[in-house]
Symmetry: C2
Subunit: 328 residues, 2 copies
């Protein structure tokens, strides 16, 4: 019996989930829910149904787990609690400072309706978070450094596009190699992540625009670029499309810790990701936790969880003995 | 209220656990159990008691979790099930092929006495296993490669010491750099780990011994060296003591996977460890899982678990909200 999956939102992440499900034979994509015109959506699988988002409540019997693929700014804070009334749900809510608030809202709906919700699963938050936790537990005396990149930051690319005279842009977050090396070798780094990353911008300007002014508007932009080492390249629209259309990302979590009577022994734990497609990788994490949500709910659990609450074994459809033989 | 810990076995690993407990303020080492003469053991803490191993059953009220620090060949198969009659227990049993068998034996004692046992926690099995599982769940289409080293293999060093004419020896397992790079970049590697590692041996021979014969005995030794690229260096006892007394180890788990309609996107997940002291790092893992065993037992759980069954949150003494804020 396959796990019946629904997707809310058919952007890059939703399409990634659709593809990820084809790699997991114990799952089946039943339906996509959208705010767009349903006719405009052509799912990969011919049996996949497309419904309007407002009709979500009419399909609670058809779906075991709903995977929410909207944005964290305005979609998920509303959609995840709402969907948890009728379904087990999984999302990749990634506004770090608001996760506790989101959890409270989702938990209230999931617990009262008897569903399992797993929030904020992706790579950061998600796999990076798990690694920060495990490594701090194992090496209590030490420091953890997270580096992001090299990869496209959607939020920073959007911010550049809002600058007057800019037609399009891509912003790469690039970890400073010397800082990564220092973290690996046990050196002490600043905890200020603005000093550990470079922001490299590829910008298409309107013809005749004042490039110096655009550059200045970017590098001094508060919250996004001010305080960072920021590099601005002006390129043509053709070059942007040709060389900067992919969505690579990745990064490192490094724990540098000490043990011994005099803290004389150094240990480095490093978890790194190098991803050709940020949304497709995030989709892989969502789908694995959808399996966990289904199984936990079948065991009678309900309420809102994070990746910290889910035993690793729940992510794979495999008997215990085989799992031990294969992975332990 | 601190968690009361006992240690069985006071070799390198037991001493590592003793030191690790001093880094965890929610724990207290109450007693060390040994087969040696109790008088010969001088614990770091003045309040730590030393008892004979045979009196284990008399101390069930004094200890919340017993950490078993013996060897996997003959100690743990007997000691872990026995200790599980009276205590929650944690071990680092590392004979991969026999973990299911060990689990069955431990589970039978732990379940019937109402204790929690967590077996095979260290770095391999342990942290490497968890990473093999997570990454296979996230990227179902791909290959996982485990590399060990550069580090001292105790078993291989012992094997060299048994060769006629050898006074002492250390064997380093060294991953072949080209194979590591190939795995990272998505290349296809042999699953035969003998082709991905070099064995480098530092040997002290008796005066006048036939060095060619010793070398030949080593490189042709079945199960240990035959099939590997093996390098033998003859050195003096002084040099061995000066340069090869530490116990460094480490390694990598690399998952190389693909996503997309045509598998066009490559992703690499890498978990790596670089450890100055193999036993002290393993001890850190054991202590974190001892905390989990205690908490799971307090919640009414019993029976034998592996790291796959334990939610990450159980490894840290922290409220949920704080854990989310700090690590998620």
């Amino acid at each position: 019996m396959q796990i019946k999956i629904g997707i809310v939102g058919y952007g890059n992440l939703g399409k990634g989930v659709e593809k990820a499900i084809t790699q997991n034979p114990d799952m089946e994509l039943k339906a996509i829910f959208t705010r767009r015109n349903c006719e405009s959506i052509k799912p990969l699988g011919s049996s996949v149904l497309v419904y309007e988002l407002k009709d979500l409540d009419q399909h609670s019997a058809d779906i075991d787990v709903m995977i929410l693929c909207g944005g964290s700014a305005s979609d998920l804070p509303e959609q995840t609690p709402t969907a948890a009334r009728w379904f087990n749900v999984v999302d990749s809510f990634d506004t770090h400072a608001k996760i506790n608030e989101h959890l409270t809202a989702v938990d209230s709906e999931a617990a009262s309706s008897g569903h399992v919700a797993i929030i904020s699963v992706g790579w950061d938050p998600g796999m990076f978070s798990i690694n920060r936790l495990y490594s701090a537990a194992i090496l209590p005396e030490g420091e953890t450094y997270t580096f992001w990149g090299k990869g496209i930051s959607q939020g920073h690319s959007d911010a550049i596009r809002r600058v007057d005279g800019v037609l399009d842009a891509r912003q790469y977050t690039v970890p400073i190699e010397e800082a990564v090396e220092l973290a690996r070798s046990g050196g002490k780094l600043t905890t200020d992540s603005t000093k550990r990353h470079i922001r490299e911008c590829f910008v298409v300007a309107e013809e005749g625009a004042d490039l110096d002014r655009i550059k200045n508007d970017i590098v001094t932009m508060p919250n996004y670029f001010a305080g960072y080492q920021t590099i601005v390249h002006f390129i043509s629209m053709d070059e942007l499309k040709e060389k900067h259309s992919a969505m690579p990302h990745g990064g490192f979590v490094i724990r540098s810790g000490h043990t011994g009577c005099e803290n004389e022994n150094h240990h480095a734990i490093e978890y790194s990701l190098k991803l050709d497609s940020n949304p497709e990788f995030t989709a892989g994490v969502l789908v694995a936790y959808a399996r966990a949500a289904h199984r936990l709910n079948q065991e009678g659990k309900n309420g809102c969880l994070t990746a910290f609450d889910v035993p690793p074994a729940y992510l794979l459809p495999m008997k215990r003995e085989e799992m031990i033989r294969k992975f332990l």
